[in-house]
């Protein structure tokens, strides 16, 4: 079929009903300030990693909240935990702890998967 150029496109929508938001729940519970993000992008603007690689903490935050975990799983390790983002955040989100908790949550879910 490839020859004819036919492919089946996967749906682009966020499937909110079936997405797994347990990673988000894990973080909300342990770092309630995670709920305060208003997606201003201050963290991503100041982020050293984000200026050189495709890493945006703001984007990862929203993807976690939507349960779009795959992209987060791949990217969350890029953070160097320098904490500049915490200095910038106008909502006082403990962004570094969000990253640490996200990593923990993924680790746990991977452990269970095995």
């Amino acid at each position: 079929m490839d020859k004819f150029g036919y492919t089946i496109s996967k749906g682009r929508q966020i499937d909110y009903d079936s997405n797994d938001r347990r990673i988000a729940e894990y973080i909300y519970e342990r770092e309630p300030s995670f709920r305060l993000c208003i997606e201003c992008g201050g963290c991503s603007a100041t982020c050293t990693t984000g200026n050189f690689t495709r890493f945006s903490l703001r984007e990862l935050n929203i993807l976690i909240k939507r349960g779009e975990n795959e992209k987060v799983r791949q990217n969350i390790r890029k953070c160097m935990l320098c904490g500049k983002c915490i200095l910038v955040c106008p909502r006082g989100v403990n962004t570094r702890n969000v990253v640490v908790l996200a990593r923990q949550a993924f680790q746990k879910s991977d452990d269970y998967a095995v």
């Binding site: 208003i38 997606e39 201003c40 992008g41 201050g42 963290c43 991503s44 603007a45 100041t46 982020c47 984000g50 200026n51 945006s56 703001r58 984007e59 200095l87 910038v88 955040c89 106008p90 909502r91 006082g92």
Partner: protein
Amino acid sequence: MNKHVIVIGAGVAGLEAAGQLSRAGIDVSLIEREKMTGGHLNDWFKLFPDRRDSREVKDYLEKFTNNDGIKLLAGIEIEKIINGRGGVKVTTSEGKELIADALIVATGFDLFRSSRKEEYGYEIYDNVYTSADLEKMFRKGKISLHNGKSPETIGIVHCVGSRDEKVGNLYCSKLCCVTAVKQAIEIREHLPESKVFCFYMDMRMGGAMYEELYREAQEKWGVNFIRGKVSEAGEDINNKVIIKVEDTLAGRPLKMELDMLVLMAGMEMSEGGRKIAGLAGLNAGENRFFAVTDQHYGSNRSSVKGIFFAGTCTAPMNITETISHSRAAATEVISYLNNK
């Protein structure tokens, strides 16, 4: 005997409250710490959203202070406030004692001191200005950089000192978004070759004709709007301001070199208001503005009998709201005096 009311502060709120009271036949003492009345109107050139000259509003308000029923005490500080059975007794810096049946506090707001937001470089870099600095340039009719030249690229930062836990101000100052839009238009008017960029977190255009002004800025004046909070500004060897922001809608960090950076300073409880709070035993609310007895129907009332509030000493307000709030304060005072 005529009733007597003291109004503290002769900005928009104080002038309007005093005018209303005097027209109702009440004697008013209007006390102002500055030599000039009009408050922040003196610092602004044109007003949003219709861009009329602030002097027109000032003229309207001051018309009534020339009234016989209003005694203006300008350049005067207040040293003591005692609230007793016989009324309110105020002692001025000249040692004069005034006794009144009621007191209206109209101490207004201070603009956020932008140098507190060090990462934006105000008073550190040469070409970082505030919204108030820009108004002075508009009044003079010339927008110029530190070296006297005209800027070609201008960035405007919204929410400086507002919605920012880092400076302890969680609230939205409400007026800075529309001020940014108004000033962006004025820059484009003055400098047709210039490019203007507004960096915002949310565009809060919740006032009469604000959204229309926003549209006009896009459509007629080509103002650019980029959604992202500026995280920091730096200065390069050519005196240009380099900013870092995430273009959140494009999902990528953005760097821009600007000739001029303008900070939209928010509103804070005034220093004068804090002093009066201490003297009169008035409480501050969550955002450090004066606490009113009820957000819905007590927005002019304080917890102290005989003391009322008018205007932005209670919350950020535009001029229209301030005038309405001050008229309401006058009404509250009149009904208080009639039932006393």
